[in-house]
């Protein structure tokens, strides 16, 4: 492709940006909603056409038309009647009908939240196009210095602005839908959820006399098409800008696709956490009845947290902490020496031991529940946290050894060998040389075992009967009994149980990849 062709292409994409801007302006000017309404209506009996009375009446009607300008239409009906005496009387009726139209601009001026959002979206599209022009002008200047494909910062800003506009459309849709659609059931019940918003919506549609429900429905029906078109136009704008920024459409599409995938991924993964978060702060009525509910709580109930603190949750959290810390301690005390031997020593039966460790993974605690509860009764560890500590430590051995061994292998043994020749014992070499160097891997394993024990549920349900000894995972099930589930409390408690663990896991996430690599793949 020659330079000239490239420049022509660039013109074309800039044109697309402006075309989309133009289209959006046109779309915003088109009526989203239109209806005809009678604003003036009066009958005059005994008024012959062109009589003095008639002219007076017509003037009155024309006065009523004035504030509405050209949208108003005067309708005149003349009826002749013959009464019982045989006289003919004339009745004149004047009606002023006004055609109201609402378009994007009037929506922006309406003062509705959705109007503000529309304004911001449109504003950012305009700004984006402006930035595109700015970069185009300076691009002309530096063209000769073969800097044609310099990725312009202004174009990047334009892309981001355009993307923001695109993403604002669903937000706009949500709010418009909230005002004009979700409020209908409340209007029907004469029990408006958000009276000021409903009033604003009615003012916007000018429906003092018209039935608000049909007006709202009419609008939301027409607005759907409007939204899709606006979305498509903004998308064109974004495509044009990305093309200008990236140079190649295939690369641009690929990048776009990648980010779309990432966003979808994050939304899907965060969705249940979002649900947990908002439900934990709802009122019980809102949590259990959808009619009284918007996406976010109408009122954030912080007292849910204090309520659950009075229902044993601190004790559960403490139990979980003790249990997990104990299990981690024991798992590490047993696991570090084993991993050390596996990483640094040669002996007969090494493979057999590895096989044994892998075999232990085959049995989840659930499968062995009957055996475990029997054993615990024999050891008198039934219904104790100590018993849980041992079980969790044992079932986490395999993963701990796997991770630790990987860490140890990835560290060169030269220092230890030197120390051993100098007369240090193997214990000394482990404690003084290897452990400090392997600290990140050890912390990773530590946290990993801690989290696994914290999240463990099945054994604890079976082994622990006393309420005060329950860990949090079992403790929160008290909020979901058979006949009634207190969702708001359940999720408030779940939030407390989840947050610390997620934070811990985020800390080790980076090391976990390297740990898995060295432990699983290389070894």
């Amino acid at each position: 492709m020659t330079k000239k062709q490239k420049i022509r292409n660039k013109h074309r994409w800039l044109l697309l940006v402006f075309l989309s801007l133009l289209l959006s302006i046109i779309l915003l000017s088109l009526p989203v909603y239109s209806f005809r309404q009678i604003v003036y209506s009066k009958r005059h009996a005994n008024t012959p056409v062109d009589s003095e009375k008639y002219i007076e009446a017509k003037a009155l009607a024309q006065d009523a038309m004035l504030p509405f300008g050209e949208d108003a239409k005067l309708n005149e009906t003349v009826t002749h009647r013959t009464n019982s005496k045989g006289e003919t009387t004339t009745m004149v009726a004047f009606e002023v009908g006004v055609k109201f139209t609402r378009n994007g601009w009037s929506w922006m001026k309406s003062g509705l939240l959705s109007g503000h959002i529309l304004l911001i979206a449109f504003g950012s599209i305009v700004l984006a196009s402006l930035f595109a022009v700015l970069s185009y002008q300076s691009g002309q200047k530096i063209q000769d210095k073969h800097a044609y494909h310099v990725k312009d910062r202004r174009l990047l800003i334009a892309c981001v602005l355009s993307l923001i506009a695109l993403l604002l459309i669903p937000v706009f849709a949500m709010h418009a839908n909230y005002t004009f659609n979700r409020n209908i059931p409340f209007l029907l019940d004469d029990n408006a959820l958000d009276a000021p918003v409903v009033q604003q919506g009615m003012d916007f549609l000018f429906t003092q006399e018209q039935d608000p429900i049909s007006a709202f429905k009419g609008l939301s029906f027409q607005a759907t098409g409007f939204l899709w078109m606006l979305f498509a136009i903004f998308f064109l704008n974004l495509i044009g800008l990305i093309k200008l920024y990236q140079g190649e459409i295939a690369a641009a599409l690929l990048t776009g696709f990648k980010y779309v995938a990432v966003i979808v991924l994050c939304v899907v993964i965060l969705y249940p956490y979002f649900v947990m978060f908002i439900t934990g702060f709802r009122t019980p009525v809102e949590a259990n009845d959808m009619r009284f509910r918007y996406i976010f709580p109408t009122k954030w109930i912080w007292s849910n947290m204090t309520d659950i603190l009075n229902r044993g949750v601190p004790q559960y959290l403490l139990n979980s902490a003790v249990l997990s810390a104990g299990a981690t301690l024991i798992a590490m005390l047993c696991g570090i020496p084993a991993a050390y031997a596996m990483a640094r020593m040669d002996f007969k039966g090494k493979k057999a031991y590895l096989g044994f460790v892998i075999m232990s993974q085959m049995f989840a605690p659930v499968v062995l529940l009957v055996g475990i509860s029997q054993l615990m009764t024999t050891l008198k560890l039934n219904n104790t946290i100590l018993g849980l500590i041992f079980i969790n430590a044992a079932f986490n051995q395999a993963f701990a050894i796997w991770l630790l061994r990987g860490t140890f292998i990835s560290i060169s043994s030269e220092m230890e060998q030197a120390a051993c020749i100098d007369g240090t014992s193997t214990v000394g070499a482990l404690l003084r040389i290897l452990l400090p160097m392997a600290a990140p891997g050890i912390v990773t394993t530590l946290i990993f075992v801690f989290i696994n024990s914290w999240n463990e549920y099945t054994i604890s349900t079976v082994l622990i009967a006393t309420p005060t000894k329950k860990p949090i995972t079992v403790g929160i099930t008290q909020f979901s009994s058979f006949n009634m589930i207190e969702w708001h409390y359940l999720f408030a408690a779940a939030l407390l149980a989840t947050l610390p663990v997620i934070v811990l896991f985020m800390l080790i996430e980076k090391h976990l990849v390297s740990g898995l690599t060295s432990g699983g793949v290389k070894g």
């Binding site: 993964i269 918007y294 793949v521």
Partner: protein, 294 residues
């Protein structure tokens, strides 16, 4: 040699001793007890009686729910392991690219792994409720649907939701295993492939895939084991209702052992499950090891 100087022959065993003891007492003993119980008569009160041969196994297999439960278990393991591996692979490839905010995305992806399964299952249980579930609420508020949809019309659909939750919570593990494999690939391979004129797909097929195969094998085997043994999801969402129609072997085992007081058949189920698991993961391991050799 990457080893340290050892003074006595028996020293390594001393190092292993604590770990062996721990696992011996708390894993091997229960295994032995389960095996022993599966061949003995157990009264509903839990008193262990005489050796009954395969009586318990017969009872377990003749259980009216057994057939449905085996089918469920098969669907559960295959769909959860299969889909989570597919999606996890995709996510790992995505996260291995240069992305703005990759670190944040990686921390977000790890969330389901860090959350307790009971809590996850409770949240999803709430999301898909018909009358007041959050999914209906969000879709209604966004104007995507006009009337609430019943997301759990039949037990088959409910079971599909359980599978989805299973997939959802398994994805991070697969992603991180494969990501570990992907990051250990030397970029020199790709450069060589580019010199040879390989396209993106060919690079993936002939460089990426063979090199992450070991990680894939490890993650798949561990996944088969974990997913087979998974308990809280089904227990929280449906408890196997209606009439064991959504149970897998593990939840059935739990119900039989601790609700119906039939510990004999329950232990027999444990043994059956273990044998099946051994065979399946053994076959998978052998076949994928062979593939690697080729």
């Amino acid at each position: 040699m990457n080893s340290v100087f050892v003074r006595h022959k028996w020293e390594p065993y001393l190092w292993l001793l604590p770990s062996i003891l721990l696992m011996l007492i708390f894993i091997v003993f229960p295994i032995a007890i389960v095996f022993k119980l599966s061949f003995s008569h157990i009264s509903p009160a839990g008193v262990v009686g005489d050796f009954v041969g395969f009586g318990n196994f017969q009872k377990a297999i003749n259980d009216p729910a057994f057939k449905q439960v085996m089918i469920n278990t098969f669907i559960w393991v295959v769909s959860v392991v299969g889909f989570s591996t597919l999606i996890g692979f995709g996510v790992a490839v995505l996260l291995n690219q240069k992305l703005f905010g990759r670190k944040i995305v990686r921390s977000i992806v790890v969330f389901p792994w860090a959350t307790s399964l009971v809590i996850q299952a409770s949240i999803w249980n709430y999301i898909i409720k018909y009358e007041y579930g959050n999914l209906n609420n969000v879709l209604l508020n966004l104007g995507i649907i006009k009337n609430a949809i019943n997301w759990r019309v039949s037990y088959q659909i409910e079971f599909m939701w359980e599978c989805w939750v299973g997939i959802f919570v398994t994805i991070p593990f697969v992603t991180f295993c494969i990501l570990a494999g992907l990051q250990s690939i030397d970029s020199a391979y790709y450069e060589a492939a580019t010199v040879d004129g390989a396209g993106a797909w060919q690079k993936f097929r002939h460089v990426t895939f063979p090199l992450v195969q070991p990680s894939l094998t490890v993650s798949t085997i561990l996944n088969i084991i974990y997913v087979f043994n998974s308990f809280p999801i089904i227990y929280t969402i449906t408890k196997g209702a209606p009439a064991n129609k959504t149970d897998t072997m593990i939840t059935l085992l739990y119900m039989r052992a601790f609700y119906d007081r039939q510990k004999g058949p329950a232990t027999a189920l444990s043994v059956i499950g273990f044998v099946v698991l051994c065979i399946v993961s053994g076959i998978y391991m052998v076949s994928s090891l062979r593939k690697e050799e080729h």
